[in-house]
Subunit: 215 residues, 2 copies
């Protein structure tokens, strides 16, 4: 395995440079936001001239797409790791919030303002489906004491997104609520909308989570 994984020196150098480029890209993203991310700037930080980066990323768009992919991957892996250690929905929620706080711009790269024309490559939507599966599993573990709503009936007929997951409609609905509500509090916190308001965002998050788990 140590032999199979070790490619030619050139390939190793290449992947290492690509990694270093991404490292600087994440720094720029965190400090200046995605719209100000500059290949030229990264090149200068790495001590080489602008066009050199185009050996590693065909375009600025391709680099950003890879950042998006890595963000989805990181989120899916983080939640999966928590889930395999027996985390329930509550722990999963706090794992999500911690992941978001770790790098708000990374969260917003996924869930923030999209570029109107942009369509993510299919492999990224697959990672997104992984995350959804983790969420559905966790929701299945909870008792479904709530009664069936009209929306449940709609979901029973429109469950393609569950991708074969055997969860009943009530569980699908709980998963959607979980997703949308936590995103609601978390995204507003990460975007700074609670900044001057005085209360503790962590407590609001916990309160929303409590109410989510109580029903």
């Amino acid at each position: 395995m140590a032999e199979a994984g070790t490619k030619t020196p050139r390939e190793r150098y290449r992947t290492q440079v690509r990694a270093e480029i991404k490292k600087h890209a994440w720094e720029q993203l965190a400090t200046t936001g995605a719209s100000a991310l500059s290949l030229n700037g990264i090149a200068k930080q790495m001590g080489m001239s602008g066009p050199a980066l185009y050996r590693y990323y065909a375009s600025r768009d391709e680099l950003i797409t890879e950042l998006v992919r890595d963000a989805y991957r990181s989120l899916a892996d983080t939640l999966a790791a928590a889930a395999t250690t027996g985390a329930d929905l509550g722990v999963l929620a706090h794992t999500l919030r911690a992941w978001g706080l770790e790098d708000p711009q990374r969260y917003l790269l996924i869930y923030g303002t999209p570029v109107p024309g942009y369509q993510a490559p299919e492999d990224i939507t697959l990672i997104s489906a992984e995350t959804m599966a983790i969420l559905l599993d966790a929701c299945s573990a909870l008792p479904t004491d709530s009664s069936a709503t009209p929306f449940d009936a709609h979901l029973a007929d429109h469950r393609d997104w569950a991708d074969g997951h055997p969860a009943p409609p009530a569980v699908l609905r709980r998963a959607l609520s979980f997703w949308t509500r936590l995103h609601g509090v978390l995204s507003l916190e990460l975007a700074g909308h609670f900044a001057g308001m005085g209360f503790d965002p962590a407590l609001l998050f916990a309160a929303e989570l409590d109410e989510l788990l109580a029903h």
Copy 2:
């Protein structure tokens, strides 16, 4: 009044050009997103050379800030108009969603990804407070049958953001839930995250709203 409002012809021309610039800016925003908004492009659309626009807006940032201000203003006015015609929380929620769907990028200009360093001018935060006041009024009209939570106690001590509004903590909490939950569903819909999922976003929104009003 018709005389007081009519300034000098030059001033009228000036405000009219500024309005035309903004009109094109909104179009660009809707089609290409805020990051691709270009003063140069707007100038060409208007049949004049690039630097001419700097007579009307000192910088690209200033134009965007004005778009942000107008977006906040439009949202506040839209909700206020609904509220004065006796709209309850449910109607207010659908008014919010309709406003968002009318121009998703306008909604995301307020609630989407912020640029890290940016701090909105104070008059914008005041408009935001207006919106919050409308929300608090509407929440006050509802019966507060829910019991006091630990978070209520925290809110009782951190209610600066309510800006003198006499609503009790339970109402504050309901207003926050209203805001964060509706933003959760709506922002995900506007950002296109429900796109390939099959279900009807309107029904999910309505379901979330129902649950919000039921407790």
